[in-house]
């Protein structure tokens, strides 16, 4: 059994891609995510994240990403602005 570590994960939301469907908020088991007034996800309790990636798996628009430390990620802003 791996023990659950909290507080080391970062969550990125890419608003250019997000459609505010609310799936990530519906699936988050630790209440990390909440919807703002327009329905976009915000992370008021980021320290509770346990890296289950349910939000990332259920995001149909590739707009949310849980980033564990020392994992390769691409710079989405440069990908989107290069188009």
């Amino acid at each position: 059994m791996t023990s659950i570590v909290r507080g080391i994960y970062q969550i990125n939301v890419y608003k250019e891609l997000c459609k505010a469907c609310g799936l990530c908020v519906a699936w988050c088991p630790q209440d990390v995510l909440a919807a703002d007034a327009e329905g976009y996800p915000i992370t008021p309790h980021l320290a509770q994240c346990i890296n289950c990636k349910l939000c990332e798996r259920h995001c149909p628009d590739f707009a949310i990403e849980v980033i564990p430390p020392e994992v390769e990620v691409a710079d989405v802003q440069s990908i989107l602005h290069a188009r």
Binding site: C21, P60, D61, F62, V73
Partner: protein
């Protein structure tokens, strides 16, 4: 294992056409993510992968992925894919169809693609309704399901793709849902390694048309209801694709092709999900075709 979304975006999608035109919360994006991850975990070169799609919401998927793509006519995606696979047998061909596209308009193409057992990977997205054209009844609308063309409930018996695939001679059939995303990825990953015709039926949601008319709630509620309407039939579901897979376990009900499938299951009306059947050692059409070509060549040289 989950490939980071930013890496999927960079490696397997065309960011210049994103965001997708699909409604917010549509399960098609989840399926597209699963396909990209399955190709990644299989270790396939994306230039050796071709995606063929028909018409419909699902047909738009070929515009967003950075493989070789063909957006073909309505229902004829298996026919185009057959030609592509015969011309380029080294390619991995993924056929993406919706339920109306594959089972009503392209019904005969699908049946004959399964009969030939050519090495294609078909992904049939089943959302019980014609989404793009405004919510008409499709061949998989359940009895009693209200649609635009069946205002007081559909009375036709829905088509069972699993039995059709079994009868027509497909080599592999699995059923996944967009709720169970890890299993979806692994089933597509398994299907990509099958030498004959492999089919993955993905139960998806159309909360905008079908869900609204039948009061099934929003996208999240519809997806979470798939936990109640389906049941997993492979407790040891899937491991990584390169390892040998055990489809049965001691004392399990047999789901092999030779045994009658529905005994003892009939009282459970939940849809089974998981790897439903796999025919091992079946010769696909491509192998026979190329053997025949060799034979003709040898006869001419004589």
């Amino acid at each position: 294992m989950k490939l980071q979304n930013s890496l999927i975006l960079r490696e397997y999608l065309r960011p210049q056409v994103l965001p997708t035109t699909w409604c917010p919360g549509c399960g098609l994006g989840i399926i597209m993510s699963a396909i990209a991850q399955a190709v990644h975990f299989r270790g396939l070169d994306k230039d050796k992968v071709a995606m063929v799609s028909g018409i419909g919401c699902t047909g738009r998927m070929s515009g967003y992925v950075d493989f070789n793509t063909l957006h073909t006519t309505h229902g004829r995606a298996p026919a185009f894919a057959t030609g592509l696979k015969l011309a380029r047998p080294e390619m991995t061909v993924i056929v993406v169809m919706g339920d109306g596209d594959s089972m009503s308009i392209g019904g005969n193409h699908l049946v004959h693609a399964m009969r030939r057992n050519l090495g294609l990977t078909a992904i049939v997205v089943n959302n019980s309704v014609y989404g793009l054209t405004g919510g008409q009844s499709s061949p998989t609308t359940p009895v009693g399901g209200r649609t635009t063309t069946a205002r007081s409930g559909s009375f036709e018996r829905p088509m069972n793709l699993e039995v059709l695939a079994r009868a027509a001679g497909a080599a592999f059939f699995a059923r996944a849902t967009v709720n169970h995303t890890a299993g979806l990825t692994k089933m597509i990953e398994r299907a990509l390694g099958v030498s004959g015709f492999a089919m993955v039926e993905v139960i998806s949601n159309c909360h905008v048309l079908y869900g609204k008319m039948n009061e099934l709630g929003d996208a999240a509620e519809m997806m979470q209801s798939m936990d109640r309407t389906t049941r997993r039939i492979n407790p040891v579901l899937l491991r990584r694709a390169e390892r040998p897979l055990r489809l049965t376990w001691p004392g399990a009900p047999s789901w092999s092709v030779d045994a009658p499938p529905l005994e003892g299951i009939a009282e459970d009306d939940r849809t089974p999900r998981g790897v439903i059947f796999e025919r091992k050692g079946s010769v696909d059409f491509g192998q026979r075709y190329y053997a025949m070509l060799e034979e003709i060549k040898a006869r001419r040289e004589k």
